[in-house]
Amino acid sequence: MIRIQGLTVGYGRKPVIRGLDASFAPGRFTALVGPNGCGKSTLLRAVMGFLRPQAGRVTLDGVPMARIPRRALARRIAWLPQENHCPDYLTLGELVEMGGHARQGLFAGPDDRDRLLFREALRIVGLQDQAHLPVNALSGGQRQRAFIAMVLAQDTPVVLMDEPVNHLDVTYQYALLGLVRDLTRRHGRTVVSVLHDLNLALSFADEVVMMSGGEARASGPVAEVLNAANLREVFDLDAQVIRHEGRRICLPALPEPSA
C-alpha cells in the first residue's frame, strides 16, 4: 500500500504540492482528479521518486520509497507518463520488451514466460500486427497504446498512470480502462490513474482522490466522494451527478448565455 504523509514538493523553490496526505488502497483502481495545475502529475512523479520532497514522505508497505533501490522498485511499481520520448531506432517490439528490464539480469534476455507476456500485452492494446514498426512511425494514439503495452509488460502489482487514455478514441478509452479495472478485480493489482474525464472516473474507478491547489480535498469511494458538492469545491464546477441504470454520470451545467 502506498501511503503519502505531509508531502511538500515542487520544481525549484515554489512547492506545487503542500502538506498532502493520501493513501492508495491496494487492489483497487484509484482515480486522481483535479483541475489543471493542481499537482496530479507532480504527485505521481514524487511517488516515483523523481522529485526530492521538501517535506513529508512516501512509503510503500511501510518502507520509505527513498530506501528502495530502483530495480526492486521497478518490479513493484510501473509508471506511465503523460508525454513519452522514444528514440528513432526503437521498434514497437523492442519497446515492449524493455518493460521486462527489471526482471532480467545484466546479460540475460527475456525468457519464455516473458515472451508470452509481451505478446499478450501487444494483443491487449491491439497492436500485435505492428510490432515491427518503429515507435515514432506510429500515430499519437498508437504510441500511447505502445507505452501502455510496455507498462503491462512490466507486470507489476502497482501501476501509476498519468492520463493514459486522453489521446485515444472512445472505443479504446473504454476498452483499456475496462482492462485496467480487470487488473484490479481479477488480478488484485493496484492502479492509480490521473484522469481528465470525470465520467471515465465515475464509470471505472473504485476510489477517487480529488486534488486542487496542491492539496487533497476529498478522497474515498468514487460513488460517495465524486458528488456535486465536491465538484463545486474542487473544480468550481456547477454539475449534477446522475444515476442511470446503475451507473453514474457527471453532467455539468450549461453556462449562462452572456448578455
Binding site: 520544481y11 525549484g12 523523481f50 522529485l51
Partner: protein, 332 residues
C-alpha cells in the same frame, strides 16, 4: 536611460577610441594624438605610430565590432533565437574558410577574397540551417537545434580551414594570425577594400529596422500589418551575412560580439530595432576596442589576438547566458 543611451554610448566610444590610440608599447598623451591628427609630421615617431598603426587598428576594431554586433541583433530577431550570432550559425566559419581556400587554392588577391568571404558566409549559414532541418528538430521552440548545427558546421569548416593552412607553410604564417581574429594594422588594406561592403550591410539593416520590429510581433501579425514577411527576412539575413562576412574578410573571424552585445544593449535601449541597432553598433565598437586593448596589453610584451580575448570573455558570457536562459525550471 533609453533616451540618454545613444549619447552615453557615443561618449563611451570616444573615450575608448582615445584610450586605444594612446595606449600601447609607448603611451602617447592626447596632445600627441591631436598633433598627429592635425599636424602630421612623419619624422615624429609618435605621429607615425598613431596614424599608421593605432588608427587603422582602431578603425578596423570599430567597424568589425559594429558590423558583427548589428548582425547578431538582426540574426537573433529574425531567427527568434537568443543565442544566434554570426559565429554560432556558421557565417564566420564559412567566410573564414572561403578566404583561406581562395588564397591557398586559387591564389586570390585580398580584394577578390571579399567576394569569397561573402559566398562562404552565406553558404556556411545555409549549411547550418540545412543540418538543423536534417536533424529533424523542426518543432524546436527555442531554436537550439540551429545553434548545435551551427557548431557542428563551424567545427567541420574549421577543420577544413586548419587542414588547408597546413598545406602551404609559407602562406600559413600570414593567415594563421588573421584566423585568430587579428585587427592589426597590417590589414589596413583589407579595411580599405571591404569597409564599403560592411557599411552597405549595416545601412541595409538600419533601413529594415522598423520592419524588423514589426516582425518581432510574429509573422502573422506582421503580415496583417502589410509587411512582406519572407522578403524582409531574406533581406535582413542577407544584410547580416553581408556585414559580418565583410568584417571577417577584414580581420578574420571574431566571435561572441554578435552574441553578447545585443543582450547587453537590449535592456538599455529596448527591443525596438530603430534604437537597438545603432546601440549595438556603438556598444560593439566600444567592446571591440576594449578587447583589442586587452589583447595588446594583457600579456605584454606578447601580443594576443583580439579574437582570442573575445572568445575567452565571450565563452564565459555564453556560459552565464545559458545558465540564465536555459537552466531554469523543471529537472530532466
Amino acid at each position: 536611460m533609453r533616451r540618454g543611451f545613444p549619447v552615453l554610448a557615443a561618449l563611451a566610444l570616444a573615450l575608448c577610441l582615445l584610450l586605444a590610440l594612446s595606449a600601447g608599447e609607448s603611451w602617447i598623451p592626447p596632445s600627441g594624438i591631436w598633433a598627429a591628427l592635425a599636424r602630421f609630421d612623419e619624422t615624429r615617431q609618435a605621429d607615425v605610430i598613431v596614424i599608421y598603426q593605432r588608427l587603422p587598428r582602431a578603425l578596423i576594431a570599430m567597424l568589425a565590432g559594429a558590423a558583427l554586433s548589428m548582425s547578431g541583433a538582426v540574426l537573433q530577431g529574425v531567427l527568434r533565437n537568443p543565442l544566434a550570432s554570426p559565429s554560432l550559425v556558421g557565417i564566420n566559419a564559412g567566410a573564414a574558410l572561403a578566404v583561406v581556400a581562395g588564397a591557398f587554392l586559387l591564389g586570390l588577391e585580398p580584394r577578390a577574397q571579399g567576394s569569397a568571404a561573402l559566398a562562404g558566409g552565406g553558404l556556411g549559414f545555409l549549411a547550418s540551417l540545412g543540418v538543423a532541418r536534417l536533424a529533424g528538430h523542426a518543432h524546436d521552440p527555442r531554436g537550439l537545434a540551429l545553434i548545435l548545427s551551427g557548431a557542428i558546421v563551424s567545427m567541420f569548416l574549421g577543420g577544413l580551414t586548419q587542414a588547408l593552412l597546413l598545406s602551404d607553410p609559407a602562406l600559413r604564417q600570414d593567415y594563421l594570425g588573421w584566423l585568430g581574429g587579428n585587427v592589426s594594422h597590417v590589414h589596413a588594406e583589407r579595411l580599405a577594400d571591404f569597409w564599403g561592403l560592411a557599411a552597405l550591410g549595416m545601412a541595409a539593416m538600419l533601413l529594415l529596422a522598423r520592419r524588423l520590429s514589426l516582425l518581432a510581433l510574429g509573422a502573422e501579425k506582421a503580415a496583417s500589418l502589410g509587411i512582406d514577411v519572407a522578403r524582409t527576412q531574406l533581406l535582413a539575413l542577407g544584410a547580416a551575412v553581408l556585414a559580418s562576412a565583410s568584417a571577417v574578410a577584414i580581420c578574420g573571424p571574431l566571435g561572441f560580439l554578435g552574441l553578447v552585445v545585443p543582450h547587453l544593449v537590449r535592456p538599455l535601449t529596448g527591443a525596438r530595432f530603430g534604437a537597438l541597432l545603432p546601440g549595438c553598433a556603438l556598444a560593439g565598437a566600444c567592446l571591440c576596442l576594449l578587447a583589442d586593448l586587452i589583447a595588446r596589453m594583457a600579456l605584454a610584451p606578447l601580443a594576443l589576438h583580439t579574437g582570442v580575448v573575445l572568445e575567452l570573455l565571450g565563452g564565459i558570457a555564453f556560459m552565464l547566458m545559458v545558465r540564465r536562459f536555459y537552466l531554469r525550471g523543471a529537472e530532466a
